[in-house]
């Protein structure tokens, strides 16, 4: 029987092949889900699905698009916001 913490839903089962030829069971952490737009809920592009420990070592420009509201709003929602700001002033 596995240990209690290994039964949690935050881990997933993986069968790995050992150098001797046998395959053994290991438990790995799951990756975060796809990031979504704050307004419309569409899936955002240009954002890798990294855990917090791996995201620390990646540079900032490789985690989000180089655009105002990049990583927060999708491209169409960001355009609407900028147009509203221009028309007010």
């Amino acid at each position: 029987m596995p240990q209690g913490y290994k039964k949690s839903g935050s881990l997933r089962k993986v069968f790995k092949k050992m150098p001797g030829g046998e395959s053994k069971l290991t438990y790995l952490a799951r990756n975060p889900s796809v990031h979504k737009c704050a307004e419309c809920g569409k899936e955002l592009k240009g954002i890798p699905r990294l855990s917090s420990t791996k995201a620390k070592n990646t540079p900032k420009t490789k985690k989000r698009p180089e655009r105002p509201y990049g990583g927060y709003l999708c491209s169409s929602c960001a355009r609407k916001k900028i147009v509203q700001e221009v028309r007010r002033s």
Binding site: E66, P68, S75, A78, R79, I82, V83, E85, V86, R87
Partner: protein, 178 residues
């Protein structure tokens, strides 16, 4: 609508939210812009117009645009043009050659000594030993000439540092391929 001197705001791209001026009209769809944004062509759909119009020549340079923007109290980031860096040159791997060079050094030293004894005007440098060897091929028999041709093919690989070797390389390589 999109006339020369019209101030716009860019909507798309990493320059979004910055002000710019129409400098030239290219098509019904494209326009040349400059200002807070980079100087480049832009699609008309990615611009939002404003009511201001400035007096500018067609195809004005960036300095003239910056002077006009400073009068309107718009902050502009001034940059110097960069020189294009030279293309990186691939360097050939020397690890495979160094093994052969050690063996070749022994052979060349032996035969260089022979060439030294035969001719009076010879110095210790490898460059001059090659010229001596090349002259001797015409005089000596075919067997010795074949050996020396192989030496010539090996020698230029050995002394890559000397620039004269590069001139002699094509001669030696062609004989080996045959």
């Amino acid at each position: 609508m999109y006339e020369i001197g019209r101030i716009c705001v860019k909507i798309a791209g990493r320059d979004a939210g910055l002000k710019c001026v129409v400098v030239d009209v290219v098509d019904a769809h494209t326009v040349l812009i400059d200002g807070q944004t980079r100087r480049r062509k832009c699609n008309v759909k990615h611009l939002e117009l404003s009511s201001q119009v400035i007096k500018i020549k067609k195809g004005a340079s960036t300095k003239e645009v910056y002077d006009e923007f400073k009068k309107l109290k718009i902050d502009v980031r001034e940059t110097k043009p960069k020189k294009a860096a030279p293309r990186p040159v691939k360097q050939k791997k020397k690890s495979s050659v160094d093994v052969k060079s050690k063996k070749a050094d022994k052979k060349t030293d032996k035969k260089a000594e022979k060439s030294v004894k035969e001719t009076p005007k010879v110095e210790s440098k490898k460059e001059e030993s090659k010229t001596v060897v090349s002259k001797e091929t015409n005089k000596e028999s075919e067997k010795e000439s074949e050996k020396e041709i192989k030496e010539e093919s090996v020698k230029p690989k050995v002394s890559k540092d000397s620039k004269s070797a590069s001139a002699e390389k094509p001669k030696a390589v062609k004989t080996d391929k045959k």
